[in-house]
């Protein structure tokens, strides 16, 4: 199994080198004439007003929280799915129960309006 992961390990490093090549080429070939106007923040020609940071909706964060819960849930279910052949029927229902409890969470979030984009 470690041989297989060696492939992945080398792949990670090669995959990082490949997109680097055109960037290095551009470094040598591309002109470089920076000036102040060019380096300005681009807002379709209009000068930027105020700070870069503006107040964002907290709603984004709520979605991230719900995602985190479901991400972890799904991860638990993968070994359960892989060992399906050796599982007895009641073990399948344990997995279903696991999903149902979290579906209740989704239902709660829904009814509480946490999934509403308002």
């Amino acid at each position: 199994m470690l041989d297989q992961w060696l492939f992945v390990g080398i792949f990670v490093s090669i995959a990082a080198v490949f997109p680097l090549l055109p960037l290095v080429m551009a470094r040598f070939l591309a002109p470089r004439k920076p000036n102040r106007i060019k380096q300005e923040t681009y807002e379709c020609g209009i000068e930027t007003v105020g700070d870069t940071w503006v107040q964002f909706k907290i709603q984004y964060y709520v979605y991230a929280l719900v995602f985190l819960i479901f991400d972890i849930e799904t991860v638990f279910l993968y070994p359960w799915a892989v060992s399906f052949d050796v599982l007895p029927l009641f073990a399948v229902f344990e997995g279903v129960l696991f999903i149902l409890i979290l579906a209740a969470g989704l239902f709660y979030a829904w009814r509480k309006g946490a999934l509403e984009w308002s």
């Binding site: 997109p19 681009y42 807002e43 979605y63 989704l106």
Partner: protein
């Protein structure tokens, strides 16, 4: 084994014999062989993308009743090379106050996150980069680097529209990752393994027959993961300039672009592997070259659907997009997962297996249609209440 039966194994045996003949240590030989494999697989993906960009431009042009690129080379085939040369010779502008390190890493990470998927793709019988036993989860895991690259690009640009775009993008990507991970679970459940080679080998009947709805949901959520029309709110130019890559110029912008195209084709490949039997087809067991051709044809089919959707549908609103995910895709996938799990255990090996699974899909689909119908009726009633709204009349 002759060259014509399995050229890859034949050639790799030849090179391996050559290296062993040089009296190298076995571990060094393994290392070199692995390195060679990596370079071949990774370049395959990157070279493929050069032609895919041409293909997509041609197809999109036909959808819009245009001709598309036709100047550079025969049928405009060299157009992408011309674009690459142009992008490389463009000045690279880094805005003031940008976070230089994160700004430069983000486009590379965006390509890497897609390219890494190719490490576990089974091209044909016995042709696979790395047959790790957690292949499906690995695909989900490398996808998280894509999200990270978007967040880094948006934040490091020091541009409020880039940051806004990044926030939208991340909200969308993480939301649609939930139905994607759950639908990925269904082929795992049917094949009893997370290795992609195992999943392909288990598909004596294509999984799309057992699970048509999950296949569809996988495709939809994957299109959302690429961030293409109709899910391209992350670069809605009428609202937030160009989203998270507003400040990127030259080849760095090109990398985000290449990453997106490669991702779109990779989605086609993954759909083919997980639901359409991957390299399976007549004669593919004995002649692996045929397997590669089958896989690529199936993948191009999936890619065509992605292009079709892209050129047909308009962009949807962000609240609609998120509602569609959380209130439709996630509940439906959870219901499908539970139903398929129970039915699979109850009917495995019996003649009722296929009818039961198809019935489960149909029941969920019918339930969904009824629920949507009720929703539409309710919305229509609500709209009727406001029918007599005051209208501005010319004086």
């Amino acid at each position: 084994m002759t060259f014509f039966e399995d050229p890859v194994v034949f050639l790799s045996n030849l090179i391996q014999d050559l290296l062993v003949g040089l009296n190298l240590a076995p571990s060094v030989v393994t290392f070199f062989m692995t390195l060679l494999g990596v370079v071949i697989v990774a370049s395959f993906g990157l070279i493929a993308v050069i032609f895919l960009i041409w293909l997509e431009r041609k197809v999109a042009a036909r959808f819009q009743d245009r001709i598309g690129p036709n100047r550079a080379g025969p049928y405009g085939l060299l157009q992408t090379f011309a674009d690459i040369i142009k992008l490389i010779t463009k000045e690279d502008i880094t805005p003031d106050n940008a976070d230089k390190v994160a700004f430069n890493i983000a486009p590379i990470l965006s390509v890497v996150s897609v390219l890494l998927i190719w490490a576990v793709i089974p091209f044909a019988s016995g042709w696979i980069g790395s047959d790790i036993n957690v292949g499906v989860l690995y695909i989900g895991a490398v996808g998280s680097f894509g999200i990270l690259s978007v967040l880094m690009a948006g934040w490091s640009s020091n541009n409020k529209y880039a940051l806004l775009g990044a926030f939208r993008a991340v909200a969308q990507l993480i939301s649609y990752e939930v139905p994607m991970l759950i639908t990925l679970l269904i082929p795992v459940l049917l094949a009893r393994t997370m290795g992609l080679m195992g999943i392909v080998e288990a598909q004596s009947t294509w999984f799309v027959v057992y699970a048509p709805l999950p296949a569809l949901i996988f495709l939809i959520s994957s299109i959302a993961e690429i961030g293409r029309t109709p899910f391209d709110l992350l670069e809605a130019e009428s609202e937030i300039v160009a989203g998270f890559h507003t400040e990127y110029t030259g080849m760095k912008f090109g990398l985000f672009f290449a990453g997106e195209f490669l991702h779109a084709f990779t989605i086609g490949v993954l759909t083919a592997i997980l639901f359409f039997g991957g390299w399976r087809g007549p004669g593919a067991e004995t002649y692996p070259v045929l397997g590669v051709i089958y896989l690529m044809l199936k993948a191009l089919g999936g890619y065509f659907i992605v292009m079709w959707v892209r050129t047909t549908l308009p962009r949807i609103r962000i609240d609609h997009m998120l509602n569609f995910n959380w209130k439709l895709l996630v509940p439906v996938t959870l219901a499908l997962l539970m139903l398929i799990a129970v039915l699979d255990k109850a009917f495995a090996g019996t003649a009722l297996y296929l009818p039961a699974l198809i019935a489960a899909n149909l029941v969920v689909f019918a339930g969904l249609m009824v629920a949507l119908r009720q929703l539409a009726v309710r919305q229509r009633k609500e709209r009727k209440r406001f029918k007599k709204r005051p209208v501005a009349k010319p004086a």
